[in-house]
């Protein structure tokens, strides 16, 4: 397996198709062999699908694990004493949550890779940051889940951070205005979960008839569109609405999941989600799980070379999407681009922002 320094030295969107495919195949095969040796349940699943790890010649031939297996089984490839932390997925009460077991090595890789991706998105320096959420999410450790982990993970890229919402989820307009006065004219990094941004930031500004000057802001948001789709709000409307209340021009969605923390897929200025070099996406046809062509809608499979402590390097999600292109985005970043079309029908709600239940 590639060592950490070499892995981090690759530019996040710098490999062309052939080279990236060879790199991912080599790394994912090595990971598969390693997990097969150390995680008996994973070895059994490989055997059941007739997969011989050493014989893999293209990563697309690996059988992806359905993400829900991480809810039903304890899947780890390291002994208990090497466990460093366990991250659980968001999930509403009553739903089972995923448990992802991290050792130090995997956890460090996740942070470092995320840093490389964010550096590409935000530029090199840490920007003043507004977290469009409440600090209660990270203060209450019992609630600490993917939402908290997201805030902590992305929070490292900001400085002089403030939370836009108080413990009762009310917008702290005064606090935000004081913050903006302090950082007049500087680029501001805003982070939040899609639904939260809409419900507690946009809708609240609208209701109060207030506006803010965030024309120098960069908003990164993610966590699922299902609740907004229910309100018939799409990407374009979301971006336009935010621009109306705060003048913000750079609104970037990201796609990622707790099962593959670190390798997030960030939207570029042309509205496409990009796979970084350490990860990739594949669309599979729901009927027979064969590989779909570009433009065809199907289930999203995600692969990542970061999971070393649990066999989560090839996962079949419950999201639908389609590939938009490869190595050809006008933004100049190499690799595949895609869009996420939503959760498959009958799948449980599990996006970070979708599982947020409003207090009544």
């Amino acid at each position: 397996m590639i060592d950490e320094a070499a892995l981090l030295a690759i530019p996040p969107y710098g490999l062309l198709r052939e080279e990236k495919h060879a790199f991912l195949t080599r790394e994912l095969r090595a990971l598969t062999e390693s997990h097969a040796l150390r995680c008996p349940a994973y070895a059994a699943m490989l055997a059941a699908t007739g997969t011989v790890p050493a014989a893999i010649t293209a990563w697309e031939d690996l059988p992806p694990l359905p993400v829900r297996l991480f809810k039903e089984f304890t899947l780890t490839s390291v002994p208990d004493e090497a466990l460093y932390k366990t991250i659980t997925s968001s999930g509403t009460t009553g739903q089972q949550v995923s448990r992802i077991y991290l050792d130090r090595e995997t956890s460090a890789l996740q942070s470092k890779v995320l840093a490389k991706i964010m550096e590409n998105t935000l530029g090199g320096s840490r920007l003043p940051m507004i977290i469009l959420d409440t600090s209660a999410v990270i203060q209450n450790r019992a609630l600490f889940s993917a939402r908290g982990a997201g805030i902590i993970g992305f929070g490292l890229f900001g400085r002089d951070k403030i939370y836009a919402l108080d413990a009762d989820m009310r917008l702290d307009l005064e606090g935000i205005r004081a913050f903006l006065a302090r950082h007049g004219g500087e680029p501001i990094f805003l982070f939040g979960f899609t639904y939260m941004v809409w419900q507690h930031f946009y809708a609240e500004l609208r209701r109060l008839g207030e506006t803010l000057d965030l024309r120098n802001g960069i908003l990164l948001h993610g966590g699922g569109w299902k609740k907004l789709a229910d309100q018939a709000v799409d990407h374009a409307q979301f971006n336009r609405a935010l621009r109306e209340v705060c003048g913000i021009r750079r609104v970037l969605d990201y796609y990622g999941m707790v099962e593959q923390t670190g390798t997030v897929y960030v939207e570029c200025e042309h509205g496409r989600l990009h796979a970084p070099v350490w990860a990739d996406v594949l669309i599979r046809r729901p009927g027979d799980f064969s590989v779909a062509a570009q433009g065809e809608t199907g289930l999203i499979e995600v692969v990542s070379i970061l999971p070393r402590s649990y066999p989560g390097h090839a996962l079949l999600t419950e999201d639908e999407g389609r590939l938009l292109g490869e190595d050809d985005c006008p933004c100049g970043r190499k690799g595949k681009t895609f869009e996420v079309l939503g959760r498959v029908k009958r799948a449980e709600t599990r996006g970070c922002s979708d599982t947020y239940e409003q207090k009544r």
Binding site: K85, A108, S111, M118, S125, R141, I152, L156
Partner: protein, 78 residues
């Protein structure tokens, strides 16, 4: 306050530990210094020494001892 005192104080306040416990701390090996504590600690160090740490240094900040070394890069002698 000396730099040493400011440095220890940042750990004490951010991680809610005693000044005696601070020098032995390693990220991830105590309840106090988890990822939430880490974010608070970075902010406390930046405030205490009026610096802005680079991303790589924040990630490398893995122990009390390592932190002293990292602050050296910002001309802060502990």
């Amino acid at each position: 306050m000396t730099n040493w005192e400011k440095y220890v104080q940042a750990f004490v306040e951010a991680l809610e530990v005693s000044a005696e416990e601070a020098p032995a701390l390693v990220y991830g090996q105590s309840k106090a210094w988890d990822s939430v504590g880490h974010m608070t600690l970075v902010a406390a160090l930046e405030d205490a020494f009026d610096i802005m740490m680079e991303m790589d240094d924040i990630i490398d900040l893995s122990s009390f001892a390592k932190g002293k070394e990292i602050l050296g890069k910002y001309d802060v002698e502990i």
